[in-house]
C-alpha cells in the first residue's frame, strides 16, 4: 500500500515537472516550428526561448564561409586587415587595442567574428576567451559551450528528462487504464 502511494506520488511529481518543463522549453512551439517554417521570410529576432539555432542572423541563404573559394576568403580577410592598418583608424583606437594589433594580435581581436575553421588555422589557443564549442558564432556564451569555464552544464538536461519521463509515465497509466477497462468489460460480459 505504501509502495503504491509512493509510486503514485512519484508519478504525479514527474508529470507536474514534465508540464513545467514543457512550458519552460517552449516545447510545442519548437516542435512544430518546421511545419510553420517559411524560408522566403527573413530571419529576424529570436527564434524562441533557449533555442540554439541562429538568433537574428540574417544569413539564411549565405553560403558557408568554409565553402567560399580561397581567393574570396582571402579578399574578405585582407579587407578587414586593411581597415585596421589605416592610420586614422588605428590612431582612434585605445592604446591597449592598438598595442595588441601591432603585436600581431589582429586576428585575435577578430576571433569572435571569424569562422571557426579559420580561427583554428591561425591560432592554437583561444586567447583567454571561452572556446567556440557550441552554438552560434559570436554567441555570448550563456548556455553555449563553456559556461563559466565549465564544460558540463546539466540544467537543460533535467528539463528534457522531465518531458521524456512525463510522457513515459502518462503512457504507462493510459495503458493500465485501457487494460483495466478491458478487464472490466470481460468480467461484465462473462
Amino acid at each position: 500500500m505504501v509502495k503504491k502511494v509512493f509510486l503514485l506520488m512519484l508519478s504525479a511529481a514527474i508529470i507536474v515537472s514534465g508540464y513545467l518543463a514543457f512550458n519552460r522549453l517552449n516545447y510545442w512551439e519548437r516542435s512544430i516550428r518546421i511545419v510553420k517554417f517559411d524560408s522566403s521570410q527573413p530571419v529576424n529576432g529570436r527564434m524562441g526561448r533557449g533555442g540554439f539555432e541562429a538568433r537574428g542572423e540574417a544569413r539564411v541563404d549565405r553560403p558557408d564561409f568554409r565553402q567560399l573559394p580561397d581567393s574570396i576568403r582571402q579578399r574578405v580577410e585582407n579587407r578587414e586587415r586593411r581597415g585596421f592598418k589605416r592610420p586614422e583608424i588605428r590612431n582612434a583606437l585605445p592604446d591597449s587595442v592598438r598595442n595588441s594589433l601591432s603585436e600581431g594580435g589582429e586576428l585575435r581581436s577578430r576571433n569572435l567574428n571569424m569562422p571557426d575553421s579559420l580561427r583554428r588555422e591561425f591560432r592554437n589557443d583561444n586567447g583567454g576567451r571561452p572556446g567556440f564549442e557550441a552554438g552560434i558564432r559570436g554567441g555570448s556564451g550563456h548556455g553555449r559551450g563553456n559556461i563559466n569555464g565549465q564544460k558540463i552544464s546539466l540544467g537543460n538536461v533535467w528539463w528534457f528528462l522531465a518531458v521524456f519521463a512525463s510522457f513515459t509515465v502518462i503512457v504507462i497509466y493510459i495503458d493500465k487504464l485501457i487494460c483495466f477497462i478491458r478487464k472490466r468489460k470481460r468480467i461484465s460480459v462473462s
Binding site: 568554409r66 552554438g135 553555449r144 559551450g145 518531458v163 510522457f167 513515459t168
Partner: protein, 133 residues
Amino acid sequence: MLLLMDPRSFYGLGFHEWAGLIIGIFFILHKILNWGWIKKVTITFFGRAPGRARLNYVIDIILLAGMLLMIISGIAIARTIDFSWLGFEGSSMFWRVMHTSSSFITLVLFGIHLGLHWKWVLQRFNFKKVSNG
C-alpha cells in the same frame, strides 16, 4: 545518452556532432542487422495483427522517420565535421529548424515507446513476475 546530446550541456558542439554521428551509424546498422524482423513485422501489420501491435508499429515507424531526419539534418548543419562533400541543398536555417523540431518530437516518441514497452522492461529486469495463465 540522448539527453546529453544537447551541445550546451556536455562538452559542446564537437562532442555533440561526433557522438551523434556514431549513434547515427549504430542506429542504421541496427536497422540493417534486424531487417529480416522488420520485414516480417511489416507483413504482419498489413495482415492480421492485434491493435496493440499495430500501434507499436506506427510509433516505431514515426520514430524511425524522426531519427533519420535528425541524422540527415544534423549532417547538413555540421560545423566541426566537414560534410560539404555531400552537397546538401537548402538553407542552413531550414536544416537547423528541422534538426531541432525532429529531435524534440523524437524525444517525446521515445518516451511513448518506452511507456508502451514498460511491462517488457520490468519483466526483463525481473521487477515483475510474469503471470502464467
